[in-house]
Amino acid sequence: MKKHNVWLSVDFLLKAAILFAFIFPFLWMISTSLQTFQETLSVPPTLIPSSPQWINFVEAMTSGPFATYAKNSIIITLSIIIIQFLVMIPAAYAFAKYEFFGKNVLFALVLIAFMMPGQVTFIPIYLMMADWGLIKTLIPQILPFMSNAFGIFLLRQYFMQIPEEIIEAARLDNASEFKIMWKIMTPMAKPALATIALFSFVSHWNDYFWPLVMTDSNEVRPLTLGIAMLKQSEGISNWHIIMAGNVVLVIPILIVYLLCSKQIVKAFVYSGIK
C-alpha cells in the first residue's frame, strides 16, 4: 500500500514537472507583459508584477502600424485556409473515391510535396514572385500555400472510411458529384477539417520565416514581423511591450483551438454509422 503511494506521488511529480516545463515560458510571457520596464530588468527576475501594467498592451498596439499588421495576418491566414479547403476537398475526394489514370503517381507527388521543407523552395518562389512584381502585395504569402499536402493526405484517409454505399445512395437520389462532395462528404469530415484548419491556422499565423523573406515593406507585413520589430524601435529591448504584443498574437490561436478541440478529438476516433 505504501509503495503504491510512493509511485503515485512520483507519477504526479513527473507529470507536474513536464506540465510546468511546457507552461512556464507561457506564464513568463504573460507575467512580463504586465511588468514595468524596471521590473523586466531587475535581478532576481520579477515573477509577479507588483501592479499589472495593462498600458503595455495599449503601447504595443499603438506603436507602428499595428492595425495594418493585424489586418494582414488575418487576411493571409483566412485566405490560406479558405483556398486550401477549396483545393483540398475535391482533391481528397478524387483520391479517395475515384479511379483514374495516373492516380498513384499523382498521389505520390502530393506526398513528396508534403515532405518538402519551405527552406528548399523559398528562393525560386521569391524570384518568381519578384519577377511578376508581386512582392508589394500579400500574394507571395498566400499563393504558395494554396494546396496543403498534409491536409489532402489526412482528408483522403478520412474519406476512404466513408462507405461507398452512402455515395451511391446519393447518386440514386440524383445528386450531382459536386453536391455529394459538399453536402455529404464534407459534413461527414468535419472533425478532420477542424484538425487541418487548426494546424494550418497555427502554422501560418505564427509564421515568421516566410513573410520575412517575402516582404520588403510594412504595408504587407504580418503581426509576427511587426512584433519582432517592436524590439528595434528603441535602443534597448522593451521586453514588456514585446511580450504584450506576443500575448495579443497568441490569443486568436487559443480561441481557434477552443473552437476546434471537440471536433479534433473526434477526428482520431471516427467510426461510421453501420
Binding site: I166, A169, L172, D173, N174
Partner: protein, 347 residues
C-alpha cells in the same frame, strides 16, 4: 411501373466473371425475390439495375429501353441498401427529402410528401433526429422512407430486414407485402432467408455462383425443383437426398413427405431405421433417422418417438424426386424415369 430485362449480361470483378451470360426478365409490377447463398451475386445484380455497378457486357433494359447510358438518379429506381447507407450528418427529414430536393420538387409538395411517408412508416416523431440516435429498426424505416418518397417505378431492396429481430422482421414482411399491393410497382428484393423469399415473392429467382438455378413461383420452386441445388436450398430442413446406386442417380424426398410408424408402412418407398436425434419444434417434431450409411430428416406431428428407437417410414411415389449425376432433375417424361424409380422398390 417498369419491367426489367437482362440480356446476355456479364459482370467481371478483377478479371473474374462473377455473373456470366445472364438472361432474366422481371415483369412489370411483380414482387421478385432474388435468393441464393452468400456471394452468389445478388447485390451485384441489383447494382446493375440501379446503375451504380454497371455490367461489363450485355444490356440492362428498363421498360424495353437500354439504360446503360442513363445515370443512376434518372432511372426511376430507388434502392434500400444492405447497410441502409443513411446520410449520417442529416436529420431524418433531410434524409427523406434529399432526393426530392435534387429533383427540384417544390417546398410545399416536399413537406407534404415527407409528412405522409413518415406517417406511413411510423417516423413522424423522429423527423428531427439524427440517424445516430435511432435504433436499427428505425434506421431501416428511414432507408425505406427515403426510397418510397421518390415514387420510383422500380424498388430495389437488398436484405432490408436482415438486421431486425424476428418479431419486427415478421411485421415488416407483412408491411412490405402490403406496400407492394398498394403501390403496384416492381419490387426486386434480395434475401438469403428462404422464409422471406417464400412468403413475399410472386417469383423467386434462385441463384448460385452467378448463375440462375431456377426462376419460378414459390410453390413451383418448392414442389418442382429444377435441380439438386434448388431442392436442397429451399425448405427447412432441406430435401433428403440418397444415392440410388445406379448411374450416379440420386433420389430425394422432403422431410414432411415421409409417413412414420412403429409398424411397416405400405408406401412406394419404405425403410426401417433408427432415430438418432429428436428436436421439438412446437406443433411438429424433427427427427433424424439413421438408415444404413445415410441419415434422413423427418418432420412429424407425432412427438413421442425416442432416440435409438426403431421406426418405419414410407414415402408415396409422387413425393419422390430423382436427379441425374449432374444434379439435374429427372422428370416423369425421362425415358428411364420408371426404371430408376423401380430401384427404390426394394431399397
Amino acid at each position: 411501373m417498369a419491367s426489367i430485362e437482362f440480356v446476355n449480361v456479364t459482370k467481371e470483378f478483377e478479371k473474374k466473371d462473377i455473373i456470366k451470360d445472364l438472361n432474366l426478365t422481371i415483369k412489370d409490377g411483380t414482387f421478385t425475390v432474388l435468393v441464393g447463398p452468400s456471394g452468389c451475386g445478388k447485390t451485384t445484380l441489383l447494382r446493375m439495375i440501379a446503375g451504380i455497378g454497371p455490367q461489363s457486357s450485355g444490356a440492362v433494359l428498363i421498360n424495353g429501353d437500354d439504360v446503360t447510358a442513363v445515370a443512376p438518379g434518372k432511372r426511376g429506381v430507388a434502392m434500400v441498401f444492405q447497410n441502409y447507407a443513411i446520410y449520417p450528418t442529416m436529420s431524418v427529414r433531410e434524409n427523406i427529402e434529399f432526393g426530392l430536393k435534387n429533383n427540384k420538387v417544390k417546398k410545399e409538395e416536399r413537406n407534404q410528401l415527407v409528412e405522409s411517408i413518415s406517417a406511413a412508416v411510423g417516423l413522424t416523431d423522429y423527423l428531427d433526429r439524427k440517424p445516430s440516435t435511432l435504433s436499427g429498426g428505425q434506421r431501416q424505416r428511414v432507408a425505406l422512407a427515403r426510397a418510397m418518397v421518390k415514387e420510383p417505378s422500380v424498388f430495389l431492396m437488398d436484405e432490408p430486414l436482415s438486421n431486425l429481430d424476428a418479431k419486427l422482421r415478421a411485421q415488416m414482411r407483412l408491411d412490405l407485402i402490403e406496400l407492394h399491393k398498394k403501390l403496384g410497382t416492381t419490387f426486386v428484393y434480395v434475401t438469403h432467408d428462404q422464409v422471406e423469399a417464400m412468403s413475399m415473392a410472386d417469383t423467386i429467382v434462385l441463384m448460385n455462383n452467378g448463375l440462375i438455378q431456377q426462376e419460378a413461383a414459390p410453390e413451383e420452386i418448392y414442389h418442382e425443383p429444377n435441380n439438386l441445388f434448388v431442392a436442397q436450398f429451399i425448405g427447412t430442413p432441406p430435401m433428403n437426398i440418397g444415392e440410388l446406386g445406379v448411374d450416379g442417380v440420386k433420389f430425394g424426398f422432403r422431410p414432411e413427405s415421409a409417413q412414420t410408424s412403429d409398424t411397416p408402412v405400405d408406401e412406394y418407398l419404405s425403410m426401417e431405421g433408427e432415430i438418432a436425434t429428436r428436436e421439438m419444434l412446437g406443433s411438429e417434431t424433427l427427427y433424424q433417422m439413421k438408415y444404413k450409411d445415410s441419415a434422413f430428416m423427418l418432420k412429424s406431428n407425432y412427438a413421442f418417438y425416442k432416440v435409438n428407437q426403431k421406426i418405419h417410414i414410407g414415402v408415396p411415389e409422387d413425393k419422390i424426386y430423382l436427379f441425374d449425376s449432374e444434379g439435374t432433375r429427372i422428370r416423369k417424361d425421362h425415358e428411364r424415369y420408371s426404371s430408376y424409380l423401380e430401384v427404390l422398390r426394394g431399397y
